[in-house]
């Protein structure tokens, strides 16, 4: 059994790691780290685990944990892991970091968008960006895994094959994303109170959300050139789910015609046909977050608009699963040579 430590176990992503790992056939949690709830029973905080998890929350003694665990998941604020990680720890334990500290290769970009100094920039190059379906080979051998953000996973996977195959012009890409409220975390803020969020929708972080450079970097690799996009997140009154609606101009073929539904579908299939967790719905299909809730699936559909020459791509996932804890476990499975779907064949829960 792989021994797992979680730092930040009492946030929503941390608790989702617990939910998934409790049914994982080859992993066991040995450390529930939570600064806010030290010495309290984990199941007093998350009563869904009453009689299931008997452990008490511990402080984040990273050194001790590195000796005890085979892998540490850090579901922590930005800057935390960057400030504490070093080669020695990495020599002892593998890390799956759910924060953004090692996602962006250019430390200046990181520091600009996050507004904090990176304390261990020398480790960034060791990190592998854990978008499983894209970087699987590199993930197998890394000890420092940068787990992608929720918006980014959805945004990138939805557009990736079309960017890679040059079917769309990346300079025209606009991502309009809608997220459930769990993405905002469990902090006690007025803005996230029930009555403030319920019965309303709003954009936020327009043209300034931190997931923007992460999407741009990864799609830039796919495009073979820098990509600059518009990314607009929206807060939607639901617990879970991200829907990304993405717009881009199709690249015309030599004869001046637009790519067909079949050609677009073939591009998606080229990359995703064998992927268990990516379900390509196909042309003229609209994914809905309800169909993936609670699961590690990403559903993708698209619509070609002949009138404007654009394609509308749509992707849906559960922000806490494929957008956070599920992909983190998927990465752990790859890093430890396990069946990639181990513990992750979660059926979507509907309604």
């Amino acid at each position: 059994m792989i021994k797992v430590g979680i730092i930040g176990a009492t946030g929503y992503a941390g608790a989702e790691l617990v939910r998934i790992l409790m049914n994982h056939p080859e992993a066991e949690i040995v450390w529930y780290g939570s600064r806010s709830y030290v010495d309290q029973k984990f199941s007093d905080i998350y009563k869904n685990f009453f009689k299931i998890v008997e452990n008490v929350c511990k402080d984040d003694d990273f050194e001790a944990l590195a000796d005890e665990a085979d892998v540490i998941f850090t579901a922590t604020p930005q800057g935390y892991l960057g400030g504490i990680l070093n080669e020695e720890i990495l020599g002892k334990v593998k890390i799956v970091d759910l924060s953004a500290d090692y996602r962006i290769k250019d430390v200046e970009v990181y520091e600009k968008w996050y507004g904090i100094e990176h304390k261990s920039p020398e480790l960034i190059k060791k990190a592998v960006y854990g978008l499983c379906e894209v970087n699987r080979e590199d993930i197998k051998s890394t000890r420092l895994l940068a787990n992608p953000g929720c918006y980014t996973t959805c945004s990138i996977l939805t557009a990736y094959p079309l960017v890679k195959e040059r079917l769309i012009d990346p300079a025209t890409l606009i991502v309009d994303a809608k997220s459930g409220v769990s993405g905002a975390g469990r902090g006690a803020k007025v803005a996230n109170l029930y009555c403030e969020v319920n019965e309303s929708i709003k954009a936020y972080g327009v043209a300034s959300h931190r997931h923007t450079p992460e999407i741009e970097e990864q799609l830039g690799y796919a495009a073979g050139e820098p990509v600059v996009i518009n990314f607009t997140p929206h807060l939607t009154p639901m617990n879970r789910g991200i829907l990304a609606t993405e717009y881009a101009s199709l690249v015309k073929k030599a004869d001046g015609s637009l790519p067909t539904n079949e050609e677009i579908k073939a591009a998606y299939d080229k990359y995703y046909a064998d992927e268990f967790f990516i379900r390509v719905l196909g042309a003229n299909q609209c994914p809905e977050t309800r169909w993936v809730e609670g699961s590690n699936f990403v559903d993708i559909g698209f619509k070609i608009d002949e009138r404007t020459g654009r394609i509308i791509m749509m992707g849906a996932l559960d922000n806490l699963v494929k957008g956070a804890a599920g992909q983190a476990v998927q990465n752990m499975n790859i890093m430890f040579g396990l069946e990639e779907t181990a513990g992750l064949k979660l059926m979507p829960v509907f309604p």
Copy 2:
């Protein structure tokens, strides 16, 4: 592998059976019955099963199904199974009926509350009421299992030990229950539209809901005498979950004092301490439906009010799992001699 047929697979309870059975280690679904969607792919109706269930919905050819399956789950309207079932079918296949047709022993009571004639009253006595934790021994050997209703499972289990141990006076029992909307089914009715249900709460079926006699019959067995109660269901703006808030006068002890928290807790523990799916939270604890959502758990808490001499008992479950499909699978497990928790160690999904 146990071969399972489902009649009524495209209702919410039917689809939840599919969700649970897809991860069941010893069962496979061989028949997705749905009158409304014959010849349509099941995963076109419930797109959460896209790429997971490839089957097409079939009509309800009960005879053919009885030859093919080891067990049939009927998630059908009242009267359907009663009108079709006979000894010959029962000789071929076991039945787990999620409708009310065989729950009530007194056919007159059934006909009065349901307003329909029972077409096979002679089979009622063969049926076992499938409240697993109460009737486990009888369930093991039955071929006709009457799966309890959602409200009834919650209402009975919450009060059962105190009725059985004569700690409360059943004549004073009042059950005020609150249900999520999936309990109302998937029929296209104005009353269940999003805008009609959202941002509102109401009582309905006051002093006339059909689950009343079912609760009374079962608690009557526990009390050793007829029990008549008030039962008031409420429609609550959430997808899943039932919370039963139950009031009863405590029976005073010989010295005139009320039972203590410890004595009440001991009564619950006497019946439930070894039950995996019943979690007794204890004194002064209030269960919440969010902590059981998606799982087969029932959470129970209570509060003694010295001022009024009453006890307030509270129980919470997921109406589609322990209140329907989960308990149905639990019953199947018992009927086939499997591990009772097989396929049912579903972690509650929060948030």
Copy 3:
């Protein structure tokens, strides 16, 4: 124009006072008091008032405000007004207090349930309990109005005529109440975050909620004897609304029969037939919070259960309007000799 000051204008009840008073024909707000947001524009906090309210929030300088205003609404934490009010202030300005400080006549009861010392107990006897439809005459002449709580308004009005007419036995009264989340206020607490409240229902404050003695006192006056009840509030996933489901044994008539629907209806009509804000739906009707949302109405229905000899009474109101700000304005109207419905003919908003 009546000059109105509001202390606690940035809580939900305070903001609802603003919404109502903005359309009041004979009142104008001269003071938006808010400790948390001093010197900030009120409409930066509540952006629904953008371009409508240009005022800036002020601190709670009660002395200055008493000179400036004709009436002060205090939508403040328990103990605040009790600690600051005196005869001199009352000589200058009328007070409508939305907190509980002057609701309960017996200061010991107040101090026990609220756990704080009352700093001006000598003023309690001057206060009038502002349940408009019951205490209208006394309200006309008071300068210190104790505005009833949200649960209490709903709970009392639903049972009042039947208690007063001795049609039910008050000793058997059980109030099972369900409230929207705005009743919990706008404080930044984890328990009130969207993801914590959404998709769940729970009881809280069982047998200990502070509105209990307030209900008991008022119904005690109606009964002519002390009344002790069970009151159980529930947190329901919706912004607004309270539904009270109340159970009591009917008092049999001399011939041993139960009161009829007509007799019950007549009792309600005796007290409410001429009341604009109380709508008696009648027998076998279930009020729903959606039908009163945004308005000052209370809807009341009932169901007699011949089987148990009990009656189930149901009342619904909007906790922020009739349960707080609306009733407060109604009281102001009475205190100042205005048309009682002035500014309050708000149509319920549905859906």
Copy 4:
């Protein structure tokens, strides 16, 4: 008093007309038309109007109604009014049509997008498109008012000044809109059931929604040339509200620089500064549907993205008020020479 008839009074838009007109100082409803509920009390269908509206629903006898009323609001399915209206009726009564029958000037465009034959195309040229803030002068004198759609009102008003002032390139315009569920109407469809909509978001009608040509026609007038856009509606789990997030490339100035925040704001102010119902929040402000709920306001904000040279415009309104019934009453006010805000100074209801 203006005598108002409503055809389609029991749909959501019809009922919202009732809510607004009940408090209108110069209008009274004389006809509640509803095919589905003929002879039933209106307040039995919409119980929020219990004791407020005593009228019974009538069939849609247009001839009789034309004699009786000064104005008829038709909140009816597409094609209904087009099939029944004629010069004679128009000679007797003014019409405010909430359907799409007379919104689009080119009958071929109408017939293509709506898939029905227009039965009275000769009347189209008589109709005035009722976007009050844009077409006020023409509205004053028309007898046939085509009330704009909900999505269209929001989409057009949000972009109009920038198109008109050539600050953005209309060929790059993309409208990503999110609507509450009341926009889908009150028909009994599985897709609109509570459990189907709750906890999910989806796009629908992608590149094919019928509001597209309406937006294009109106913005085309502003641009002085044909405009073709992408419009993508989304179903959002809330009762009311539309948020339009709109993307377009800014037109660079002669010196190659982008327009500034001040220049954009000035363009909005040029058209909207004196408009009571349009609230321009300004640069870097994100409107939220909660701040306009229940009111006739449109809130507009924007964000310039220097990185991409695009502007993100955002508009929010209540689909049933400014997006339907409120704007319809605003149009009536203009058509009858009343104060434009009469009956429409509805404060937004929050929370």
